[in-house]
């Protein structure tokens, strides 16, 4: 299959209508607002001496700022009956797929009311309500998506699974095993690669033998497309084709989006290795999309303010819920290994 850069002029015929465009914008604003709140609370109590394990939000924190177009553009085509598997950097996808913000925030804060009752943490989010899961192991979120797609297909539904990973994962065995089996069994999966140029500190040029991971789709007899410029509408259009193909029995597709990691690999990453930081703020996909929508008359000051106000209200509510939720009882630290009590 050919690598194409699809038409993504903002008024293209195959493009989203005004209401959809506004929805994409609002989705991205919500995601960013949520992560800005996390950023604030994560760092609030880790000074003066930095201790990654301390504070209201302990542990590694991988935020997705800059990658919102992938989540918004893909998940706009899904319902809560579809499955999404994500990575160690999962918040944007979880939110765009409709996860309850309160339970998401509570899990990140390690509270009993969280999705995993504080057992999972931000890299291990499991939501049966939206069939969302993620894995902290590179590429290993791909194989379970096969099984969700298999179950949907066997039950005669048109539900699909979307498996998302980063460009570094495309060099893992599980990635290739999964693509082959999905194509062989014609399973309803959309594979998405978020190419943010960096595998922690290693640039894509030092890790990947091909200029685009989309070309790898050809090895498995499935369509592959790459979106070059992190534009949410281009993602939306490419995803529309892949989702339609999966829903109608056409089998899997592979999409790579050349996206942007605005912040560090994890919070606390000084990014001394980054060679692409100059002018990075000008490449913020929300800022650029906002300008496009203003120019097209889809957004005005009032709509921008409404998007931000609504997002802030939802995020404030979620964070307040998380902060006020009970901390898990240490006496219950060994619970939930099995579905029933199994003595050690």
């Amino acid at each position: 299959m050919t690598v194409t850069s699809p038409p993504h002029t903002s008024t293209g015929q195959a493009g989203p209508d005004a209401a959809t465009r506004l929805g994409l914008y609002r989705q991205m604003v919500l995601i960013r607002t949520f992560e800005e709140a996390l950023l604030r609370d994560y760092h609030a109590d880790k000074s003066p001496v930095w201790d990654i394990g301390a504070g209201l939000i302990p542990g590694e924190m991988h935020l997705s700022a800059g990658q919102e177009p992938v989540a918004a553009g893909v998940c706009a085509h899904l319902t809560a009956d579809d499955a999404v598997t994500a990575t160690h950097r999962p918040h944007h996808l979880a939110i765009a797929h409709g996860m309850d913000l309160r339970r998401l925030a509570a899990e990140i804060f390690g509270r009993e009311t969280g999705l995993g009752r504080g057992r999972g943490g931000h890299m291990h989010l499991f939501d049966p309500g939206t069939h969302f899961s993620c894995s902290g192991i590179i590429a290993e979120g791909y194989p379970p998506a096969l099984g969700q797609a298999f179950a949907f297909s066997r039950r005669g539904t048109d539900r699909i699974a979307v498996a998302v990973t980063g460009e570094g994962a495309a060099n893992q065995g599980a990635f290739h095993e999964t693509l082959n089996l999905a194509a062989l069994w014609k399973l309803p999966v959309v594979f998405v690669v978020e190419d943010n140029d960096w595998g922690i500190s290693v640039p894509r040029s030092a890790s990947t033998s091909v200029p685009s991971n989309a070309v790898r789709a050809a090895a498995y007899g499935m369509p592959g497309e790459r979106v070059e410029d992190n534009a949410v509408e281009a993602v939306w259009e490419v995803a529309a084709r892949a989702v339609q193909r999966a829903r109608t029995g056409g089998g899997p597709s592979l999409i790579e989006v050349h996206t942007l990691r605005l912040w560090g690999h994890f919070e606390g990453d000084a990014q001394g290795y980054r060679t692409d930081l100059e002018g990075i703020a000008d490449r913020d996909p929300i800022t650029t999309y906002e300008a496009t929508l203003r120019a097209d008359g889809v957004l005005d000051d009032a709509a921008v303010t409404a998007a931000r106000t609504d997002a802030l209200a939802a995020v404030d509510d979620a964070i307040a819920f998380a902060r006020s939720s009970p901390i898990p009882d240490p006496a219950q630290a060994t619970a939930y290994v099995f579905t029933e009590e199994v003595p050690a």
């Binding site: 995993g116 192991i137 290993e140 194989p143 379970p144 099984g147 179950a151 089996l181 099995f338 199994v342």
Partner: protein, 346 residues
């Protein structure tokens, strides 16, 4: 408590362990459309060690599926299908191949229920062939059950008889947790491998469960307890019969049948009565089942032991190829007998 729970059979029909295992799968597949089987050579071949004989013919390729040699992909497929409520059975042809797919097993299959705070169940079975004794060398002869038992979140069952192979399989499929079902090639009753006569036995035709986590007294005795599992149960029983006939000792043999959950009460009940313990384990000696069985006693009350414990396991060496070398390190009857004689002072 120890269970001598093999009921008086209503039939005299005898099956090999392999056929009993396949029959257990077939009964559950017939009863529950959510059960399916996938793996390498599980279709037309019927499983390299006979685990799926006849299933393809009975259920067709939509439910008995040969896969590519892509263990991460198809075990992951089973995990995802299980999270959506299906009851998959995935076969890892040899347990030695866990190295290419362990992440799906221990980081996903075994952890999702915990990480989800109990909100997502993974009701699947991972079947795998274990064990040596036929010169398949270092990468195709290991048991490795200690690894799976060490990692939290998986039940680990290891049948030694046809009756248990069927009943434990049915229990495993019905269990809401991931269950690793490890069958020793030497207990399957294969026509192309030396086999213990106990690899063929009476098996009831109907579906029945053998509870996971309950040991079985394979042979009652009073002087010494051998705690073991899998093919070694038969070797231990052979030794016990021989020593009884020779008037040396009356040896009790406990077949653990599962490592997770471990029936510590059964181990305690027997050893606290006999005061002498031999652990026989075809897995590696260090950091494994044999040490855990000993700790089960010493954690509770080491003074019940009248003599130091003997452990008969694979010394910490890869499994050799040459016949004589391999049988020098496996827990064969000579090594087991020497251990029993040492603890009973004969």
């Amino acid at each position: 408590m120890t269970a001598i729970d093999t009921p008086a059979p209503a039939t005299t029909r005898r099956l090999t362990t392999a056929k009993a295992m396949a029959e257990g799968i077939a009964l559950e597949m017939a009863a529950n459309p959510e059960v399916f089987y996938l793996g390498e050579d599980v279709g037309a071949y019927g499983g390299i060690f006979g685990s799926t004989g006849g299933l393809l013919e009975q259920f067709g390729p939509q439910r008995v599926m040969d896969t590519p040699i892509s263990e991460s992909a198809f075990i992951g497929l089973a995990i995802g299908a299980a999270t959506e409520g299906m009851r998959p059975i995935a076969e890892l042809m040899f347990v030695d191949f866990m190295g290419v797919c362990l992440d799906q097993i221990y980081n996903h299959m075994a952890k999702i229920h915990f990480e989800s705070g109990g909100n997502v169940k993974v009701p699947m079975v991972l079947t795998t062939a274990v064990g040596g004794g036929y010169s398949d060398a270092a990468q195709h002869s290991q048991c490795l059950w200690g690894v799976f038992a060490h990692l939290p979140g998986m039940k680990v069952v290891v049948p030694s008889t046809p009756y248990d192979a069927k009943g434990l399989m049915i229990s495993a499929i019905r269990d809401d947790n991931p269950v690793v079902y490890m069958f020793h090639k030497g207990v399957m009753g294969l026509p192309w491998m030396a086999k213990n006569p106990r690899a063929t036995d009476v098996v009831p035709e109907e579906a029945y469960e053998v509870p996971i986590g309950r040991a079985r007294t394979a042979r009652p005795g009073t002087d010494c307890t051998i705690v073991t599992i899998s093919l070694s149960v038969h070797h231990a029983t052979d030794v016990a019969d021989r020593l009884a006939a020779d008037g040396v000792a009356d040896v009790e043999v406990i077949d653990l049948r599962s490592l997770v959950p471990l029936d510590r009460e059964a181990i305690w009940e027997s050893v606290s009565r006999t005061g002498r313990l031999v652990v026989v384990d075809e897995d590696y000696r260090s950091f494994g089942m044999s040490g855990e069985v000993v700790a089960t006693i010493t954690d509770r009350d080491p003074t019940v032991l009248r003599r130091p414990v003997q452990r008969v396991a694979v010394p910490d060496v890869p499994i050799p190829y040459a016949h004589g070398l391999e049988h020098a390190i496996l827990p064969n009857t000579d090594r087991i007998e020497a251990a029993v004689r040492a603890v009973v002072g004969a």
